[in-house]
Amino acid sequence: MISAVLVVTRRNIVQSAIFLITALLATAGIFLQLHAEFLFIVQVILYAGGIMVLFVFVIMLINLDVSLHQVQFNRQWWLGLVLALALGAQLTVAIAVGRSGLPLGEPVPATMLEPSTELVGKVLFGEYMLPFEIASILLLVAMIGAVVMAKKKV
């Protein structure tokens, strides 16, 4: 949480990226706490490994010295801040009020859970087979798109 705030407020994008890694690893820890071992591994390898390498690589490709001396916040940043905080407050009230109406009682005890990796595999390749294949096509399209974007002459 703290590192998430730091991601947004740091002036230097490299520091920002480092704090983003911390935030992602903290999220991975929360997944572990929620008995989602497979997601924990995916988060660590894919997010903290893959996507962050991509970010850091692009940051290195781009000239850093220019952006250090520029104004880093919008001209209307106060308006955006107020609106975003209003959204947050609204959602807080919504959860706090609606909490009693939701069936947020006792979670299923941990001893009754199946091993989560096995369960995820069953769900992913049984019920959600078609979305899974569509996701793979999406990844292919994104890969081709990224290569075309980064080429010198299209």
Binding site: F31, G145, M149
Partner: protein, 100 residues
């Protein structure tokens, strides 16, 4: 055992921080990172609810969201590289080629 509503509040806080980052920053890379933060908040929500119900469908959706985030990061960073090559800047409000 931590109640589910605590996870909801945590994810709410993360999401709000992400929104603040998207709305107030000018640097495009940091805007992309804030979007990643928001996606993570949604993932926490999904997994928390899936833990509450005891099924793995929330996990499946969280995996789809992670796939989307990877695709979006790849394309977005490609766009950033192309843009930086043309305009020599990283500021979001300089991206006005399509503005009339």
């Amino acid at each position: 055992m931590i109640p589910t509503s605590h996870y909801l509040f945590l994810s709410l806080g993360l999401f709000t921080v992400g929104v603040i980052g998207v709305v107030t920053r000018r640097n495009v890379i940091i805007i992309l990172m804030s979007i990643e933060l928001m996606l993570n908040a949604v993932n926490i929500n999904l997994v928390a609810f899936s833990r509450l119900v005891g099924s793995a469908e929330g996990h499946a959706f969280a995996i789809f969201i992670i796939t989307d985030a990877a695709a979006e990061a790849a394309v977005g960073l490609g766009i950033i590289i192309a843009f930086f090559r043309n305009r020599e800047t990283l500021l979001g409000d300089e991206m006005d080629l399509l503005k009339w």
